[in-house]
């Protein structure tokens, strides 16, 4: 076991981990931050996406010790400081961008990374960016619509499905 320290959602945290401890395991079991979901555990579904130093990564495909000292942001750190939903989260609710909600934490984190780099993406860019986030309930239409709405673009012309 080794001690690992990092900043998660603005707070300094540390814990004992093994070499093989994944960041997703450390977040969920070490810190109790179960908002980060593990869907496939094979690096394909994107439910476990978090930000490391501002970049979206799959926390199930990153070792906790490899990101020692990093700034990590999870879905628990996405709401506004007063507890209200962030723009992206609110857009997912407003546009019904989820059904069971399992993939949603990863979708929100990936969408936030996209909008940080590209504040007004096209629909094609949103779909390309979300290639690594798999939803098995809704199809992607309302998710894409939510991301476009969160970017401040008019989604009135996009039909609901």
């Amino acid at each position: 076991m080794a001690k690992v320290s990092m900043t998660v959602n603005g707070k300094s945290v540390s814990g004992e981990v093994e070499g093989r401890t994944l960041l997703s395991t450390f977040l969920r079991e070490g810190l109790g931050l179960t908002g980060t979901h593990v869907g496939c555990d094979t690096s394909q579904c994107g439910a476990c996406v978090v930000h490391i130093d501002g970049k979206a990564v799959k926390s199930c495909t990153t070792f906790a010790q490899d990101v020692a000292g990093a700034e990590v942001k999870t879905i628990e750190g996405m709401a506004n400081t007063d507890g209200s939903l962030s723009t992206i989260q609110q857009a997912f609710q407003d546009h019904h961008g989820l059904q069971c909600g399992f993939c949603t934490p990863g979708m929100v984190m990936s969408a936030a990374a996209l909008l940080a780099d590209n504040p007004k993406p096209t629909e094609a860019e949103v779909r390309h960016h979300l290639e690594g986030n798999i939803c098995r309930c809704t199809g992607y239409h309302n998710i894409v619509k939510a991301v476009l709405a969160a970017s401040g673009q008019d989604v009135g012309q996009i039909a609901a499905e």
Binding site: E18, T42, G46, K58, T61, F63, Q65, H129, G132, N133
Partner: protein, 261 residues
């Protein structure tokens, strides 16, 4: 996943020293290695992370070539190589998905030499030099078959030097589930001739298509490939496509790459 000791050196010298230990293996972005470990297909005693070594990161243009640190992630290549070598940047920007591109590295991809990975075709078509902790290896000598390279045990790729072609393009036929190349063709035109490297096709991994190179060196146009064909005999055959199908794709994609270059 079996347990192992994790170390994260901050210099190449420390990494090489750690890798001299029995059972030690290098870890770059881990986007292939970690899924492999989860399936218990690999059992290292120690993983030596290469992601904390500053001298192995970054991209610089140097005398008509791009020098890319071995631990540079795909996303950085996609962003920073665009002004110098757009075909390479476009290739990097279409590997996997955004989260994979933020972790996966050029050195890791070349060391693994997956027969369907994108980077080996860029390195081979560019006539790249693979720079390791102990020597420099020409791409033509480096790739030695499926998952096989000229690297010795414990040898790490510290940088890749890619000559910048006059014109180039990479066209990938996506395998939509994995986002690897079902087949991909990289065409690069230099002053002294054209190089064509193909990934996702041969059972021997990435290879150069000599006949296409000769035809395109004489006439850099899609029509130049018209009379040529590759045999499907030694091509990868799986549920996504037969050998002859991949052989056909090689030509179709090569023509598209020439048109796009």
């Amino acid at each position: 996943m079996y347990n192992f000791e994790f170390v994260k050196p901050s210099s190449i010298a420390e990494a090489v020293k750690a890798l001299a230990e029995d059972g030690a293996q290098p870890l770059s972005g881990g986007q292939t290695l970690i899924p492999t470990l989860k399936q218990r297909l690999n059992q290292p005693d120690m993983l030596v992370s290469l992601t904390g070594i500053a001298e192995m990161k970054g991209i610089k243009a140097e005398g008509g070539a791009l020098v890319i640190g071995g631990a540079t992630p795909h996303a950085a290549v996609a962003a920073e190589a665009a002004a110098h070598y757009p075909a390479l940047a476009a290739l990097a920007g279409n590997i996997g998905d955004p989260a994979v591109r933020n972790r996966g590295t050029i050195g890791g991809s070349l060391a693994n030499n997956d027969p369907s990975a994108c980077y080996p075709s860029a390195a081979l078509a560019s006539g790249a030099t693979i720079v390791t902790d102990r020597r420099e290896i020409a791409a033509d000598d480096y790739f030695q078959g499926m998952f096989a390279t000229a690297l010795d045990e414990g040898e790490i790729i510290t940088a890749v030097r890619l000559p910048i072609p006059q014109k180039a393009a990479y066209v990938k036929f996506n395998q939509p589930a994995s986002r690897f190349a079902l087949t991909g063709v990289f065409v690069a035109k230099f002053a002294d001739g054209v190089r064509v490297a193909i990934t996702g096709a041969s059972n021997d991994g990435v290879f150069r298509w000599a006949e296409a190179e000769a035809a395109l060196s004489a006439n850099f146009a899609p029509e130049a490939l018209e009379g040529l064909s590759l045999s499907g005999d030694n091509m990868i055959s799986d549920l996504h496509g037969t050998g002859p199908y991949r052989a056909h794709l090689c030509k179709v994609l090569a023509k598209r790459a020439v048109a796009a270059a």
